[in-house]
Each structure stands twice: as C-alpha cells, then as structure tokens.
C-alpha cells in the first residue's frame, strides 16, 4: 500500500485520533452503560440474580404481562401498518399527506401526554368512565389500557418502515399480477408480501422492542399496581423506588438482553438484504447472451 495520502483522505494521524475518539464516545455513552446493567444484575451472585427474577411473584407477573401486552400491540400495529402502507404507497388521494403526518405524530408527543389523554377517555372520571363501569369493562389500571397505550406510542414504526419500502418497490409487479388475473388476497400473498418480507420483519422486531420498553404512557394509565398492572419497565421503577437496586438491575438485564437480540436480528436482516442485492447484481453482470 502506497504511503502517500490520497487527496480526499485524512492523514493517518488524524484518522487514528478520530477513530479513537469515536470508540471512546461509543464506549462511554453506550458500551459502559450496557456492561453496567449486567454487572449490577449479578452483583450479588448468580443465585440472588435468579431469585430476583424467579422467586419474586410481582416480577414474574410483570414479565408475563409484558410478554402478553407487547405482542398484542405489535399485532394490532402490524395490521394497521400493512393497511396504511397499501393505501399510502399505492394510491393518491386527497388528505394523503395529512395522514402521513398524523402517522408521524406519536414520535414527537410525550408518552405521558398520551397516557393522560387516554385516561381522560377511559378513566373512572373520564368521558366513557360511567359507561365502562356500567358494563363492568376495565380498561385503565388493567391490561387493555396497557395495550391501547402501547399501541399509540408504537403504531408508526411498522408503517414508517413499509411505506418508503413499498414506494421504492413500485406497483408494476402488482399491476402485472392483476392483468394476469390475480385477485386481492392472492395479489398480496404471492406478490407484495415476498417483496416486503425483510422490511416487514425489521419493522416487527423494532416495534416489539419499543412496545416492551414503553414506559411513560403505560406508567400513567396503569395506576402502577404491583402484581397486577406493572409491566417490566414499570417493575424496574418500582424496585428502584424501593432501593432494591440489584432487583431492578436483574429485571433490567432481561430487557437489555432483549435489546441486544433486537440489534442482532436487525444486523442479520440488513446483512441478508445486502446479500440479496449483491447476488443479483453479480449475476446480472454475468448475465450474457440473449
């Protein structure tokens, strides 16, 4: 390798300094906190760690609750994401820009505000409060409220992943399929779905991570009743308030592992997409004769 520096490249000393700075930044901001979670969780040994998770009924319940609420919210958001992406990416209609903007909304709104507004509707003194009590339907301070709050905060994720993807793919294949006689669900199942599968998977994973980690909105609407309406993040907060740091860390470690799995799957999906693209480019170049 020649020793000179190309005109658009930085000199090696600068490069080294910048790389080390970047690593240092990532280290202090991201990596050390990550390590801290696990160190804190196992601070009193593996036995205590396991006890904190498995022997504490409230913690166990919170895990079960999170595992119940998040998938439901993700599923509901999936249906919405597919519907919204189909409508927005494949058609032009008045109000399309407005709908896209509304989908972006939860992104900037504080989850506490969301939780409060939902409380105003479904709470005991809310607009629907009396009606709900008459019909013995419990929404706030119960898991339906958690699902609704989680849905609000995370519903844009899948849609925002699918819309640009489907716009980029274009509708030619689907129009061709219709000209060949495909009906609605056939069209979707045979043509659209295979083309968006990686983006969809990625959206699902991200949505799930956000759903499981949602705190603010759920905090307000759950009434944080331990053993009943605490999801895992809320459990962490409760343990923190009780100064049970090791316990809080134990639950946090599960959430951190979830985050790492999410990152891993995301990398795998990105790698797969890049592989797909590279393979088709290569083979096209070798394409050849008529």
């Amino acid at each position: 390798m020649a020793n000179y520096v190309r005109a658009h490249e930085d000199p090696p000393a600068v490069r080294l300094a910048l790389i080390l700075s970047a690593v240092a930044i990532m280290g202090f901001v991201v990596v050390v906190p990550l390590v801290n979670v696990f160190v804190g969780a196992f601070a009193e040994g593996f036995g205590t760690y396991w006890k904190n998770l498995a022997d504490d009924p409230d913690t166990l319940h919170s895990i079960k609750l999170t595992l119940m609420v998040a998938p439901v919210a993700v599923f509901l958001n999936l249906i919405f994401g597919l519907a919204a992406a189909w409508a927005i990416a494949r058609f032009r209609f008045p109000g399309r820009a407005l709908l896209t903007a509304i989908i972006d909304m939860p992104f900037a709104v504080s989850p506490v505000v969301v939780g409060l507004f939902l409380l105003l509707i479904f709470g005991r003194q809310g607009f629907l409060g009396t009606w709900l009590r008459e019909h013995d339907i419990q929404i706030v301070f119960a898991w339906p409220g958690l699902v609704i709050a989680t849905c609000f905060v995370t519903f844009p994720v899948i849609a925002r992943e699918l819309i640009p993807l489907m716009e980029e793919l274009g509708s030619e294949e689907e129009v061709a399929a219709v000209s060949l006689g495909a009906r609605g669900w056939q069209l979707f199942r045979l043509v659209t779905l295979p083309n968006i599968k990686w983006g969809l998977l990625y959206g699902l994973i991200l949505c799930n991570a956000r759903a499981m980690g949602e705190f603010g909105a759920v905090f307000v609407i759950s009434g944080h009743i331990a053993g009943k309406t605490d999801t895992m993040p809320l459990r962490v907060e409760k343990l923190f308030q009780e100064y049970n740091m090791v316990g809080a860390y134990a639950v946090s470690s599960v959430l951190a592992m979830l985050a790492l799995v999410t990152l891993f799957l995301k990398s795998v999906l990105e790698w797969k997409t890049r592989q797909d693209l590279a393979a088709s480019e290569r083979l096209r170049a070798e394409g050849g004769a008529t």
């Binding site: 409060l116 507004f117 980690g213």
Partner: protein, 276 residues
C-alpha cells in the same frame, strides 16, 4: 403523465385499507387528542392560563426545552464524529460499533435511566471520578442532559450516515487540487453539504428529548423548580387529581411537539429541494 392515479381502478383494496387506517388513526390518535383538548377547554381562560404559566410550570418548560436543546447540540458533535468515522474509515470492529449505535433505540428508557443514575452517583463508575471534581451527574440538571444525550445519540448518527455516504468525493479532490488543506476542505466543502442533515438530526434528537419521560424520572430526582421536567409535572398534577390542570400543561406540551413536528416536516422538504 403519471399512471399512479389510475391504480385505484386497477389495484384492489383501496377502500378497505384506507378505511381501516383512518379508523385506527381516529381511534388511537384523534380521539385522545380531542379528549385532551376538550378537557383543557373545560377550564376558563384564566384558570387555563394560571395552570400553564405558574412559576413551577414555566420552570418545567424551560428545563424541558433547554435540556433538549443542549443534549441535541452535544449529540451533533458526538454523533457527527462517530458518523464520520463509521462512514469514512475502515477498521477492525467497525461493524460491531455500527450495530451498537442503535442500542439506545432498542433499550427501554427505564433501564437507561436506572443505569445512568447509578453511574453518576457518588460511588458510581463515573461518579467516583466526577463528584470529587464537583460534577454531579445524578439528581441534577446535568444528569437530565446526560441521559438525553444517550437517548438522542442514534438520531444524529443515523441521519448523517446516508448523507455522508452519498457525498461526492470528487468535490473534495477538486478542493485539494485547488490548494485547500483537509480542514479547510472540511469547513468549506463538506460541512455545507451535510448541514441540512445536521439540522434534521438535531431536530429529531430535540423532538425525541422533548417527550422523554422514562429515563429522566430515574436520574433527575424530580425536584420542582429545579429538576422537574414538564412531563413529570403533568404526572404530579395527575396524582393530585388535578386533571384539568394536568391536561392544560399537557396541551401546551402537545403544541410544542406539533410545532417541532411541523418544523421537521418543513426541514425535510427543504432539504429534499436542496439536494435535488
């Protein structure tokens, strides 16, 4: 002449998909916001004003906005540097580092808050060095900024990366041919091209920080007038059963969020025109 508008007659499912999407959005977004506005309007203008402009509320807004601005600015520098390194240089572990950038995205905010507060307390991993120096990371405004830096970190990096990757190296070479050193080239050639992305990244990080609750609750100590952010104020009012006052403050927060969203939208459109 675009044939896209014809898709309604050719592709199926328009009414079904749009109908469901509108239904979902109305239920989930418009209804709650409507409820909020309705409740807030149940206060008389005087009451409303009293609730949203009390000393405590004003302190909360200042803190919320101020901390968000500072943390977003810090992220501009840190995130910018990391983005540059990830795009321009190849080194062992680059892929791993790149994946880790998204960690704050994927990690529940409560865990972030827990960890950051424990890192900066007196006997924490960072605190044991910083507290003797007088830098109180936990239960302080500084702590809020620090955790918001963590939360907003991926935004700047992920916004800058595609832009940096798409930069035309030829322009930098031309600049070198004309006699400019690397720093001058960076300042005069590269920086202007990535400015729209920097602004967008800043705004995204800012918007995200505005609403952040989960992590801040752990690290700030939530002391009114000093370390109480606006969302915490809302929750406190709620726990005092002062629903209308809580809603009033929430509506103000909502308006700040909308303004930020609007600004982001404008920015995205402006930067699209800028980049052609």
């Amino acid at each position: 002449m675009s044939h896209v508008d014809v898709n309604r007659r050719v592709l199926p499912g328009f009414q079904l998909s749009l109908g469901y999407a509108l239904f979902y959005v109305s239920l989930l977004v418009l209804l709650p916001i409507g409820a909020g506005v309705l409740k807030a309007s149940s206060l008389s203008p005087a009451e409303f004003w009293a609730a949203v402009s009390s000393e405590r509320a004003l302190a909360a807004y200042r803190l919320t906005v101020g901390a968000s601005v500072v943390s977003a600015a810090v992220n501009l520098v840190l995130g910018g540097l990391v983005a540059w390194v990830l795009v321009r240089y190849h080194f062992f572990g680059r892929q791993l580092l790149d994946s880790l950038v998204d960690f704050p995205f994927a990690l529940p905010t409560a865990v972030a808050g827990l960890v950051y507060s424990n890192l900066f307390v007196e006997n924490g991993w960072y605190g044991r060095f910083l507290v003797p120096l007088g830098i109180e990371g936990a239960y302080s405004r500084l702590g809020i900024v620090l955790v918001l830096v963590f939360i907003g970190f991926p935004f700047v990096v992920r916004t800058l990366q595609p832009v940096l990757e798409g930069l035309d190296r030829d322009v930098e070479e031309a600049s070198a041919c004309l006699g400019a050193g690397r720093l001058a080239t960076f300042r005069r050639v590269t920086l202007p091209s990535i400015t729209p992305a920097l602004i967008t990244g800043f705004t995204l990080a800012f918007a995200r920080s505005l609403g952040e609750y989960g992590s801040v609750v752990f690290i700030s100590g939530n002391m009114p007038y000093r370390t109480e952010i606006a969302p915490v104020l809302v929750v406190n009012r709620l726990e005092e059963f002062a629903y209308a006052e809580a809603t009033a403050v929430a509506v103000v927060l909502l308006m700040i969020s909308f303004t930020t969203l609007f600004a982001i939208n404008l920015l995205e459109r402006w930067s699209k025109r800028y980049h052609g």
